[in-house]
């Protein structure tokens, strides 16, 4: 049934419009009936991950189709700011950028029964709606860590890296904060939370680390043995790779684990505000219903688990996130970060 529906047309239009627009598109799909009313979604999330949810949405709205554009978070931001293409919905893992879009007036507010399901910390001024809760984890190679070294906190990691610098030289990876919005978000939240982060970065920096654009390539590099430790990887992605389950170990640090929330905003420039609201409701209901929808692609958000006593805490939505987007602040942070990581 579902296949019949959106196998109707699944066209790969990747890079087609990239030249025309001032932002870089990774891929673009048309999902749903060819003559359907198009809901234009720009997202940092791979099509494959959200496909089941999109499918069930199209079943409920047979008149609609979704034009799904994938770009990285800063390109999503750029696309919205330029406003050349009238996107209806922006889905992004960069909570700071989503917050900035809402703060600077690019989004529409929305309230419904579905958005009421979202926990208070998962929503900002009825403009930003979280629909996932994903940890910033440490991923290590199962082969290299078969000895059973205890690696539960950042301090453990620092000690380990310091103890055996030769073993880990060139074998440690983390996000390149200048390339990835999510990497920057994780780094800034870490820096804000604990001084341990800077010591860790100093240690990693001394080991000639590899810097990555995205979680998936870090996971694959660990699985292949190219690197042994990847710091600040999306745990949800790593755990979703069942094929690599025996090659990697995913660790949520016990000192603290930041939980990133993937979020949706409804864009003011959109042509289908009604459909956009329905789509946001669909995502919110799938994520926050108890239990979540069967086709919800992420691990169930441990809502009850998130409290002050837990080391897992969601990154707080709100104007605080704007601080590290400040050009001056960002310049300073980048300088400091690269001086720590690119020491040698």
């Amino acid at each position: 049934m579902r296949h019949a529906l959106f196998s109707a047309l699944l066209t790969l239009l990747a890079f087609a419009a990239a030249a025309a627009a001032g932002f870089e598109v990774e891929e673009r799909h048309w999902i749903g009936p060819e003559d359907g009313t198009p809901l234009r979604v720009i997202s940092t999330t791979d099509t494959a991950i959200l496909e089941p949810l999109i499918g069930s949405f199209l079943e409920e709205h047979p008149e609609a189709a979704i034009e799904y554009t994938v770009a990285n978070s800063s390109e999503v931001m750029k696309a919205v700011l330029e406003g050349q293409e009238p996107f209806d919905v922006a889905l992004s893992s960069a909570m700071d950028l989503q917050t900035k879009l809402a703060n600077d007036g690019f989004t529409r507010p929305h309230r419904s029964a579905a958005t009421a399901l979202i926990p208070e910390w998962g929503e900002w001024r009825s403009h930003v709606f979280a629909f996932s809760l994903e940890p910033a984890s440490i991923v290590v190679s199962a082969a290299a860590f078969s000895g059973g070294e205890a690696l539960r906190t950042r301090q453990d990691l620092i000690s380990l890296l310091r103890a055996e610098p030769e073993r880990f030289r060139g074998k440690v990876g983390t996000y390149d904060v200048s390339l990835s919005g999510l990497g920057y978000l994780f780094a800034t939240q870490d820096a804000r939370t604990s001084e341990t982060y800077w010591r860790l970065m100093e240690v990693i920096g001394s080991l000639d680390p590899q810097l990555f654009c995205c979680s998936s390539s870090m996971i694959e590099s660990v699985a292949s043995g190219e690197i042994l430790v990847a710091y600040n990887v999306l745990g949800s992605y790593a755990r979703a790779r069942r094929d690599l389950a025996d090659k990697i170990i995913v660790i949520d640090p016990e000192d603290y684990t930041h939980l990133m929330m993937r979020s949706a905003v409804l864009l003011k420039g959109g042509r289908q505000p009604g459909l956009a609201r329905s789509f946001a409701d669909h995502l919110a209901a799938a994520a926050w219903s108890q239990p979540p929808a069967a086709n919800y692609p992420f691990a169930q958000p441990p809502v009850a688990f998130v409290d002050s006593a837990s080391p897992k805490r969601p990154i707080q939505l709100g104007p605080g996130l704007l601080v590290y987007l400040d050009a001056e602040k960002r310049r300073r942070f980048m300088a400091e970060w690269f001086s720590a990581v690119r020491k040698h």
């Binding site: 703060n103 600077d104 001024r125 605080g320 704007l322 601080v323």
Partner: protein, 461 residues
Amino acid sequence: MSAAVNVSGSLRRRLLLQLVGSAALLAAVLFFAVLGFVRTVAEESHDRILLASATSILDSVSVQAGEITADIPYAALSMLGNVSDDRVFYRIASPAGVLTGYADLPVAEEPVQPRQPLFETAAYKGEAIRAVTVSRRLAAQGAPVAVQVSVAQTRTGQAALLEQLFRSALFLGVGFFVLASGLAVWAAQSSITPLRSLTEAISRRGPKDLRPVTRPVPAEMSPLVLSLNSFIRRLQASLARSEDFIAEAAHRVRTPLATVRAQAEVTLMRVENEDNRASLREMIRAIDESSRAAGQLLDHAMVSFRTDSLERQEVNLTALARDLAERLQPVAELKDIGLHFQSDGDVSIKGDAILLQNAVRNILDNAIKYSGRDRTVRVRTVRNGGWGNIEVEDEAGGFAGEDTEALTRRFVRGANAGETIGSGLGLTIAREVAEAHGGRLIIENSQTGAGACVTLCFPLC
């Protein structure tokens, strides 16, 4: 005597309206005062948070290698997020230009004096914002530079807070009004209570009760009561004067009438001419009627006087009635009327024997007067529940659907009065005596239907 009173307005309603009106006014004043106060407090606390944010940003501005840089603390903006979900804007500027933040933020371009924050309200990105600008002097490359930091926040959260405060103030005002109105109703009610109780006390009085009002009344009512008492006194005096006058007049008329009657009788014996004799008889009849009327007027005056200051003593009604029946026996026999007395035992009440005698005699007089020859008049004393009754039953034909109540009014006479001598005061006297003793007078047709039955009922002691 329930003539319509010329009513104009109501004291209670006027008082109530004035109290409720004042309550409404006070509630409105309270509402606006509270609203104004909380609005000021809310705005001031919002301003203070903005100021704290701006100051912490300003503190982070420094000169490094001759360049002005800013390291905005995370808390500077997140503290605003903790207060409300409002949009936040900021700007750091120096005379050379905008260093970072929202360059087009509509805040003071003029230099702001250090330690004198400037608060502004403006519109930005389609929403109203509240902004604060603070300033600080730094030394960059040997020259002083004034750095200005502005922090602004939209006011949606504040508006929501104010709406909530507005509602609270409204509830407060309405609650105050409802409470005050309840108290106003109570106050209006209780302030007219003395008036109402005085009214009740006066309207409960018997028709002859002309005592002055002595019950305690509030000061405001004392002029009214004084006037009322003075009015009562004058009325009483006037009534007494007219009764005295009537009694005096009756007394003065009766004695000469007796002389005239005696003279007429003497003359009648001397006159032979039948026409003249008839004229004389007619004259004697008229004299009788006049003297009887005068007698009854005297009786009535006496009754009125004695009932005003009733002396209550043990009176045996049975003995009283028997005594009267015996005394009137000769009069009855003149008309061949059988006058019978019956009793089922002694009936005693507390009362004035003279008045009671007078009442019973008047009824008996009536019964004998209106009865034809060979009829019977029965007098009975009966004990009936809590009542002692004296019943006088005659065979004089009774009342054919007449208003028996009317017969007890002064100078009203029955339909069968005809030629019979009478003044129409007899039953009035009987009724007044009965009522003075707390009893009543019942006039009805007798059970046999042959005549009337008049009953005096007195409460037993």
